[in-house]
Symmetry: C2
Subunit: 154 residues, 2 copies
Amino acid sequence: MSIDAAREKFRSFLTKKGLRATSQRLAIFDATFAQTEHFTADQLLDYARAIDDSVSRATVYRTLPIMTGSALLREVDIGSGEKFYRPNREGDGTQVAQVVCLDCDKIFEISAPFMSWYGSTVSSKLGLTPVTQRLQVSAQCDAFRQTGTCPRRG
Amino acid sequence: MSIDAAREKFRSFLTKKGLRATSQRLAIFDATFAQTEHFTADQLLDYARAIDDSVSRATVYRTLPIMTGSALLREVDIGSGEKFYRPNREGDGTQVAQVVCLDCDKIFEISAPFMSWYGSTVSSKLGLTPVTQRLQVSAQCDAFRQTGTCPRRG
DNA sequence: CTGCCTGCAAACTCTTTGCACGAAT
DNA sequence: ATTCGTGCAAAGAGTTTGCAGGCAG
C-alpha cells in the first residue's frame, strides 16, 4: 500500500468517525508510514515534528489509539515498559508472532497462522470468544554470544 | 509442593546466592505461597504486611526479582500497566498460555506444550536461541455478554 | 563486627488529563 | 459560529533508587 493510498484511508476513517483531519494528525500519520521498523511513541514524536514542528507529545498519544483503531497501525507490547508501533501496510488479518532479540533489542515478526486456531480452541473450552492474541519469544543472538558482534546490529 | 518445602527451597536459594534470609524476605515469600490466584506487587505488599508489618513496598519490589530468579515465582505480564505474579508450585518447565477475560479481568492459564516447539522452530531460522515465550489470548465472556453476569465473577 | 538489607521518600518513565486557546467544518 | 482539537504543564500509575540506620552471618 502506497503512503498516498494509506493517507487517504486514514482521512476517510477520520471522516467516517466524525473526527477532524487536522494537520497534526496527518503529520503523525505520515510519520508512521515512513517507518520500516518498530518505533516508540517518543520516536514518533520526533518523526512527526520533522514534518510539522507544531506536533506535541499529547497529540501523539491522543492520535495513537485513533490510528490503531483504523487498523493502519499495529501496537506491539513486548512488556518492556514502553509500547512499540508499526505501520500495517498489508491491510489486516495477518497473525504474527514477535521474536525479540535480547542482545540487539530488535523485534522480528513472523507469520504464525496457527495462533488463531489455538486461540479459538482454548477459549471455547472456557466459554470465551477470543479478541486478540499474541505470541512472543525472547531470544539470545547466537552470533553475538560467540563473536561479540551481531550481524543485525547497527 | 508444601509451603514448608517451598520455604526451605527459597532459603537454600538465598544462601547459595550469598543473600541473607531476612524476616522480610521470608514473610514476602510466605505471602506469595499462600495465594491461589494471580496477584500484583501492591497486593503482595498487603499480604506480606499481614504476616510481618515491617515489610515495605521497596523490599517487596526488591524481593520479587529474587523470587522469580529462584523459579518459585512466575511473573505474568499481560500488558496492563502492572505485572502479575503467581507461585510456581509445580516446579519448573511447564509451558502455559494465559487467557485474559476482558469482562472478568480474570487470568486463566492453560498448558500449551507446543509453544516451546514453535519457539525453537521460529528462532532457529533467525539464528537465535529462545529464552522465554508467552502466548496470550484476550477474550470476551460469552455468558456475561448475554446474561449480564459472569459465572466466574466474584 | 562488617557489610548486606531495610524503610522512607524522592525520583523516574511512560502515559493521561484539565484547561484555555485555536482551527476545521 | 460551533465544536472539536491542540499545546502546555501538571498529574498519575507503577516501579526504582539514594541514603542513613539496622540486623544477619
